[in-house]
């Protein structure tokens, strides 16, 4: 004696948010039923475990049928199979494309390839997120990446349009795509203290300022790649450390400005040349793809760590970088003001964002 077939179809597709979340989280039907029973929905609605099981299976089936549409969210709006109110559609998409920060931290900057996908079971054990959920998130990244990769125009806008995602989520995806495309190294131990949101912020800065789309507003620009011309020009900044006069001049200008304004003035003065060399060297090397990948490690090693060991506060860092940036414009022999501003603007906000425990 058994129920052989059990189906419920509504003219308006009924979807329970709670069950949807359980499905997204990769729970099996039985586990989901357990969670629901613990949630107390049974008492609320005078239902039995049997009813709950039937409902959960049914919902799971509905989600599975919808999944194919969720892969192309734009289709969800003009497909005919399911009649779903628009606010529900938005909810479905948003939650389907939502991801766990701990998961994304693991794959951020990695190549979104089959190889990485194979390693997902390790990620799953490490993060405690079910393999199923990991796969969904990974596939989402990959799908967005593939669609956006060859598209022209602003990255965030492309993602938002093609995947109908809310603004914040679209920005996060832009960061993920950007990291994956440039293969930034984020997994080194020294970078572990950084959250996904830190990286996402930095990615936003880079996208807005260092890509080709950032300078001229021609729609044909690609937002995923850094502006090669700019990277080339960054080499010109080297003069700031190679030219001894310029370096000294720079230092004295900064020190004059900072004197008396901070408790760590001595350390600043002592470290100035080191720090400046660090930052300018990063700039000069960015033309090499390999060095682009190490961008964040370099920032941490060359700047953040020295400052931290000298116990700078983030106010100190802000103060230092402000004057460090501005002073350059007073140097009369220095010609590359535009590049310098474009470079330091991003460096400054990235460092400030990354400067925490």
């Amino acid at each position: 004696m058994s129920v052989e077939l059990d189906v419920f179809v509504g003219n308006t597709t009924i979807m329970d948010k709670e069950v949807y979340q359980l499905w997204l989280n990769g729970y099996t039907v039985n586990d989901a039923v357990k969670v629901r029973i613990e949630g107390g929905v049974m008492e609320e609605c005078e239902a039995s475990a049997e009813v709950l099981l039937s409902d959960t299976m049914d919902q799971y089936r509905t989600f599975q049928m919808c999944e194919r549409l969720l892969h192309h969210p734009a289709k969800l709006a003009n497909q005919l199979l399911f009649q779903i109110p628009p606010d529900r559609q938005a909810m479905l998409i948003e939650r389907y494309y939502a991801f766990d920060d701990s998961f994304v931290r693991e794959v951020l900057g990695k190549k979104l390839s089959k190889g990485t996908k194979k390693d997902l079971d390790d990620v799953s054990t490490k993060t405690g997120i079910t393999l199923k959920s990991c796969r969904r998130q990974f596939d989402n990244f990959k799908r967005v990446f593939k669609v956006v990769e060859e598209l022209k125009g602003p990255l965030v806008e492309n993602i938002r349009q093609h995947f109908l995602l809310p603004d914040q989520l679209a920005r996060d995806y832009a960061a993920i795509v950007f990291f994956a495309n440039n293969r930034f190294e984020t997994g080194k131990k020294k970078l572990h203290y950084l959250t996904f949101q830190d990286f996402a912020f930095c990615a936003g800065q880079l996208i807005n300022n260092w890509t080709l789309g950032a300078v001229d507003n021609i729609m044909e620009d690609m937002d995923v790649d850094l502006d090669k011309e700019f990277l080339q020009e960054l080499k010109d900044l080297k003069i700031l450390i190679t030219d001894k006069d310029l370096l000294d001049q720079h230092k004295s200008l900064v020190c004059t400005a900072l004197r008396g304004k901070t408790n760590v003035f001595n350390e600043m003065e002592a470290n100035f040349k080191n720090l400046s060399r660090g930052l300018v060297n990063i700039a000069a090397k960015l033309i090499n793809a390999k060095d682009v990948r190490d961008f964040f490690i370099d920032l941490v090693e060359k700047f953040i760590e020295p400052c931290r060991s000298d116990k700078w506060t983030s106010i100190d860092v802000n103060l230092y970088l402000t004057h460090y940036t501005n002073s350059v414009h007073i140097l009369d022999t220095f010609k590359h003001h535009a590049v310098w501003t474009r470079y330091m603007g991003v460096i400054k906000s990235c460092i400030l964002r990354m400067y925490h425990d």
């Binding site: 004696m1 129920v3 059990d6 003219n11 009924i14 005078e46 734009a74 289709k75 003009n78």
Partner: protein
């Protein structure tokens, strides 16, 4: 050459990838009608092809237009091998053939393949130019409107109800033809789908011809069924009620209703039809070339109906009836009704007055009385003979219903025939049946209800030799209908309402069933009643059966002044017995009506119709089900048929007893919408009876249930019994509280208290035609047994009682019924959710009857529980029109399918209504919103005096309705979208009116990005902003909070789906889930293409599921039907018409707020 069909293929989208190499498709389209085929060009390498074809024109007979579907096939072009079919779309042209329905079919339709399901969509435009054919011998019946709705459709009024129409066509089932051995499953499925399309087209055309012959222009309550008889063939049969309908002019000025009139195709038809009716300036004239015919045939029919009115009323010279006629007229009613400009209100105030027992019997003796006398002589003998006395006093009094109605059976002399047929036993000649597939009637039309009549017959199927002469099948149904007719007569009734037919087939055995409710309907002459001049002018020569109150008004206003008045309150009148109490066809306990105290009523009433809106009901109703499983021996052929027919009476008896007990257990006394389904399998019979129980105020309160033990020796046993008794009493008390059943205590009189000798009251007539013998039928009162005392003489009985008590109550916030509306709930919000749920249960072998019963009962109960849980977010809500169908697809499988609609209502207002019970009737009255609207129009035209009662009421209703909507947050955006969609629709309507072809450049194609972007883009080219129009679906005939402004045609679709990769598609559940969702999607798409935004009276009539898990295969057939409509939210209605007709809209909104 009376018709030109034009089709244009615009575009496709979401096509499947047909070429693995390029991941693209080279699609083209074949458009086929009859034997003509056109092709579009190949649109290479795209999943979203833009064909933008020329107009393909088919010049065809209108007969073909009715029979054939337009067949659109999408194919993938292949240079070297044969072209692959992607899928097909069948388009039913019928809605375009009727001037009042749709004018163009335009929109995205799913491309369907029987193996792969939906594979993308195609955008098409279809139009018909029809040249009117006045040939008297034509075979077509274009222009006859079909409605699935089992009441007079909302924006029409019935001018005449002609009666029953039926037809059936048979053919060989392609699945069983020899060629099926060598063709692919796809080809076989498509042959079947196409054949059924053709057959239902032909059937509809033939029924249409019958309707035209009768002088009607529409079929209401159209019920079409398929019998898959396997080897012996395929039967498509349909029944319906022929009517002459007239469109009620809408309050909407021109925009919504008139675009159709000015479309080019319409222009061509217009001249053929009659001019618009005078006095109803806005109505689009009834599309009747028959108008003239009706006129001319009128005068003869007049005399018939005079006779008929006498046959309705019959005679009885008992002192009691005479006494009624002599009641002094109380001025109360007169004074209350006459000053009101509306007859509507006084009409619906009656129930209140009735309960005060002050209704005056305003001596309306004139014509009916003489008629009685005239007819009495000829009748007296048959009355005795047929044991079918009439409650004559009651009917004579009621006979002059508030509505003038004439039931014309046929243009010739149907009514006379009826008179004749009821006066002679040998009436088997015309094939004329006084049956009505309608289940809801305008107030006052239904005079008395006798009870349920049903007939079944077991037949052995044989091959249908000559498809053109389906005589055997016809004869079978003929037999059954005769039986029904005679049962009705035995109950003293001249008509059967809420009539339906069904079959259950297993191997070569077929059970045919028919059931309905014996009733007496009001019939009356227009001439005899006083008429106000305007109406006389407009449709003087026509006899009127009006849904509207407008006629009532004219009637009432003047009749009151002339002293003619209706006698019986509509709130209880229908309960009064139609049969002679001295000559009851079965043992019955009669009491005086608890409302009016003047007529006899039975103690229990079973009916198959909807609860009349005007009925006085105490408390709420609930779904009551009797479920039964009976094992039977495996047998073959004749032996099998005999076994089944021997089992049937017991099955029915037990179902009846169960229903009765469950009814008592809920403290109720009447069942509505009773539907008994008997399903036959190889080793068992399944019976499921569903109905909505209510407490009719007019009927006596039901007694309790008493348990009596047979062997009272054992003390523990006694204790056990008393425990059980206590449980039962508790349940009854609890149920009374739950359903708010607290009838006003009436202590006086009552002949005989309810308990002493209670008997089964409303009889369930059944019989096997095998053994059928008219006279013996009346004896089938297995009711010598007491229905209320349950004797426990064996374990079976104990089990039965346990089973009684296991029905779990509906969870808080839920109500359920299988009728259209739930008594006691009026304030629906606009949130509705239609759903279908299917379960298949596998049984173990070797179960006892008891075990089977329990399993079956649990299956139904659990299904209901699941539904409540699923729909918990809609609380408070009512599951309406819960329609269960059971089947035994295989030896050890039970399949239960449910289709219903969940409707939210506003709780607060509910309480309020409860308090103001006086107002209740008012609100109830208003539920017939279209009538109300119509009446309001009249009001404006005739008198500008504002209605002091209705407008403040209306205002408050509007307010509460708004709050109701606000409370249903989840769906509000839904509604918004709907409204914006309506805007689109209006725009669209404009374009159509201008005759422009550009209608398809509507929202769906909104923003195609320019070609030549990167590859990944191509697949979602038509994204962004464009969303699919919302189409509501409901099994009910109305949409809460909205007004139906147009019926666009009938939807009748048949699909087959098959798979050879069952596991891959998610097993049986996954397969069926997808299929049902696809069927819904296709229905919605076709409705949207017709320009509609809802389907009403939707039903899934067939869901045949077969599986073979070992072979990884499954097949399913689904047949659905409904009426495509266009509705407008009443809030929008208000905004458009508020300036011009403020008084009107207030009231109408009040009406629709309910």
């Amino acid at each position: 050459m009376p018709g030109k069909l034009k089709a244009k293929i615009v575009a496709g989208r979401h096509l499947p990838v047909m070429d693995r190499a390029s991941d693209l498709t080279d699609a083209f389209v074949e458009v086929k009608f009859g034997n003509t085929t056109f092709k579009t060009d190949v649109y290479p390498k795209s999943l979203n092809p833009q064909w933008n074809s020329e107009w393909f024109k088919f010049e065809v007979d209108d007969e073909d237009l009715q029979d054939e579907p337009l067949q659109i096939t999408v194919l993938d072009h292949d240079t070297y091998s044969a072209n692959d079919a992607i899928g097909k779309v069948y388009i039913d042209i019928d809605p375009l053939l009727c001037s009042e329905a749709a004018t163009v079919i335009s929109g995205w339709l799913p491309i369907y393949d029987t193996i792969h399901g939906i594979r993308g969509e195609i955008n098409v435009l279809v139009k018909v130019d029809l040249f009117n054919d006045l040939n008297r011998f034509r075979q077509s019946s274009c222009g006859v409107k079909f409605f699935c709705t089992t009441s007079i459709p909302r924006c029409y009024r019935a001018i005449m109800v002609h009666g029953f129409v039926e037809e059936l066509v048979v053919n060989e089932d392609p699945e069983y033809q020899w060629i099926d051995r060598i063709r692919t499953p796809r080809a076989s499925n498509e042959a079947r789908q196409r054949l059924i399309f053709l057959m239902s087209g032909e059937l509809q055309r033939k029924i249409g011809l019958k309707v035209l012959e009768m002088g009607g222009n529409a079929v209401v309550g159209y019920l079409q069924c398929f019998d898959l008889e396997g080897e012996s063939g395929l039967v498509v049969r349909a029944i319906g009620t022929a009517c002459t309908l007239e469109k009620i002019s809408s309050t909407l000025p021109a925009t919504a209703t008139h675009p159709s009139n000015s479309s080019p195709s319409k222009d061509m038809k217009e001249p053929g039809f009659g001019e618009e009716a005078p006095g109803v300036p806005l109505s689009s004239g009834p599309p009747t070339p028959l108008r003239a015919q009706t006129f001319s045939s009128f005068s003869p029919s007049k005399s018939y109906s005079r006779q008929s009115s006498s046959s309705d009323t019959e005679l009885s010279l008992t002192p009691k009836t005479v006494g009624i006629f002599l009641f002094p007229s109380t001025p109360a009613l007169e004074s209350e009704s006459s000053p009101l400009p509306s007859a509507h209100l006084p009409h619906h105030l009656w129930p209140g007055m009735a309960s005060r027992s002050t209704t005056p019997p305003p001596l309306r003796l004139s014509q009916s009385d003489t008629a009685i006398l005239r007819k009495s002589v000829s009748f007296s003998e048959e009355l005795l003979l047929a044991a079918s006395g009439m409650g004559s006093g009651g009917s004579a009094g009621k006979e002059g219903g508030p509505l003038k109605a004439l039931l014309r059976q046929q243009t010739q002399s149907a009514l006379e025939q009826r008179g004749v047929s009821s006066s002679s036993e040998a009436f088997v000649r015309t094939g004329e049946y006084p049956f009505f597939t309608l289940a809801a009637f305008p107030p006052g039309f239904l005079l008395h209800v006798g009870g349920v009549v049903s007939a079944r017959s077991v037949k052995l199927l044989d091959r249908i030799h000559n498809p053109d002469e389906p005589e055997t099948r016809d004869a079978w149904w003929e037999e059954i209908r005769q039986e029904i007719k005679s049962h009705a007569k035995a109950l003293g009734c001249h008509a059967v309402v809420g009539y339906s037919e069904s079959t259950s087939i297993c191997e070569e055995v077929c059970i045919l069933s028919a059931s309905g409710t014996a009733a007496i309907l009001s019939s009356r002459f227009m001439q005899d009643g006083p008429l106000d001049t305007e109406h006389r002018l407009s449709r003087q020569p026509l006899c009127v059966f009006s849904t509207g109150s407008e006629r009532v008004e004219g009637d009432m206003g003047s009749s009151a002044s002339l002293g003619f008045e209706e006698v019986v309150s509509p709130g209880c009148g229908f309960c009064h017995i139609p049969y002679d109490e001295l000559n009851i066809p079965f043992p019955a306990q009669l009491t005086y009506c608890y409302c009016c105290r003047r007529y006899k009523v039975p103690d229990v009433l079973f009916t198959t119709i909807d609860l009349p809106t005007e009925a006085n009901v105490t408390g709420k109703g609930c779904l009551i089900q009797a479920r039964l499983c009976r094992t039977k021996k495996k047998a073959q052929g004749e032996g099998n048929a005999t076994v089944i027919s021997n089992l049937l009476p017991f099955l029915e008896y037990e179902l009846h007893t169960q229903l009765m007990n469950k009814l008592k257990l809920r403290g109720m006394n009447a069942l509505f919408g009773l539907r008994i389904q008997i399903s036959v399998g190889e080793t068992m019979l399944l019976g499921l009876a569903s109905a909505t129980g209510v407490y009719l105020t007019a009927l006596p309160s039901p007694g309790g249930i008493q348990i009596a033990g047979k062997t009272p020796s054992d003390i523990t046993y006694e204790q056990h019994i008393s425990n059980m008794q206590k449980k039962i009493n508790d349940t009854i008390a609890k149920n009374k509280e739950l359903y708010e059943i607290n009838p006003p205590e009436v202590v006086e009189e009552i002949i005989g208290s309810p308990i002493p000798e209670p008997r089964q009251r409303s009889r369930l007539f059944r019989s096997q035609s095998e053994s059928s013998d008219e006279v013996s039928e009346l004896d089938l009162s297995h009711g010598k047994k007491d229905a209320f005392v349950l004797e426990i003489d064996d374990t079976d009985a104990v089990e039965d009682i346990h089973a009684l008590l296991t029905d779990s109550p509906t969870p808080a916030g839920f109500y359920s019924c299988n009728t259209e509306i739930m008594p006691g709930i009026q304030n629906w919000t606009s949130a509705i959710q239609m759903f279908t749920s299917v379960r298949v249960f596998r049984l173990n072998a070797n179960l006892t009857n008891q075990g089977l019963n329990k399993i079956f009962s649990d299956l139904c109960e659990n299904l209901l529980k699941s539904l409540y849980f699923k729909l918990r977010s809609m609380v408070p809500c009512c599951l309406c029109h819960l329609n269960f169908t059971v089947a035994i697809p295989e030896d050890e499988l039970i399949q239960v399918a449910v289709t219903a609609v969940a409707m939210s209502f506003d709780k607060e207002q509910l309480l309020e209504n409860g308090k103001q019970s006086g107002e209740k009737t008012l609100i109830k009255a208003i539920t017939e919103n279209d009538e109300q609207l119509q009446f309001n129009l009249e009001l404006n035209a005739e008198t500008s005096a504002p209605n002091p009662l209705s407008s403040p009421k209306g205002l408050s209703e509007v307010g509460s309705h708004l709050s109701a909507r606000a409370s249903s947050v989840d769906y509000s955006s839904f509604a918004d979208r709907c409204s914006s969609w309506i805007e689109q629709l209006k725009l669209k309507a404009h374009t159509i009116r201008r005759g422009s072809v550009k209608t398809t450049s509507s929202m769906e194609k909104a923003s195609p990005l320019p070609e030549g972007r990167s590859r990944s883009l191509r697949s979602n080219r038509s994204y962004s902003g464009s969303s699919v129009a919302v189409v509501k679906m409901t099994p009910l005939s109305f949409i809460p909070g909205a007004k139906i402004i147009k019926y666009l045609g009938i939807i009748n679709m048949f699909f087959i789906r098959e798979t050879t990769s069952l596991r891959e598609e998610g097993g049986v559940s996954g397969f069926l889930h997808t299929f049902i969702a696809e069927v819904f999607a296709m229905v919605r798409a076709h409705v949207a293409a017709l320009g509609g935004n809802a389907v009403v009276s939707y039903s899934m009539k067939e869901c045949v599921f077969m599986e073979n898990p070992n072979k990884n295969q499954a097949q399913c057939l689904i047949n659905v039907s409904g009426d495509a409509v266009m509705f407008v939210r009443e809030s929008e209605l208000e905004s458009t018409s508020v300036q011009t007709q403020s008084a009107t809209t207030h009231t109408s909104n009040g009406a629709e707020g309910t």
